[in-house]
Symmetry: C2
Subunit: 79 residues, 2 copies
Amino acid sequence: MKRRVTVEQAFGAVLRELRTGTGKTQETVALDAGLDRTFISMLERGLRQPTLETVLSLSRALGVTASKIVEKVETLLGN
Amino acid sequence: MKRRVTVEQAFGAVLRELRTGTGKTQETVALDAGLDRTFISMLERGLRQPTLETVLSLSRALGVTASKIVEKVETLLGN
DNA sequence: CTGTAGACTTCTGTCGACC
DNA sequence: GGGTCGACAGAAGTCTACA
């Protein structure tokens, strides 16, 4: 009974983990993904949610597949 | 040279394929996913794009993982 | 059962600025 | 390098209704 993690929070955690793993800055990822730096910040903090297209853009910027990202999110959500 | 398919179109095709595979109607899927029937219609026709939360809701309604859905989308997009 | 249309609400995503 | 704020355009998602 301890699963109070939202989709936003789970995705944010995965995004931050993957980004820091590559040693990239939020700004670099934003540029590579064609997104705004402030939006990456909000995503990592679990304040916003991505669309499917955004997940795909981020996956390319991070050098992983989008399905792998979603898989990690599902794990955090308890799947 | 196979980047003519948009994310919307790829997702719509995957969604329709999975839904018809279960024999469910758009209305049933909508109810199970907690979404609107007209929105499912637009998603399948590639006129709209889902957020990550919507992909997760639909995956539960369809009895597959969200990562599997995204994997199929990536395949259609040429990954 | 599905497509479409309009009107509407909420949220994604951008941008400039400042800390 | 990252957090935050406010203003904004556009898209996600709902609902009623009719073909």
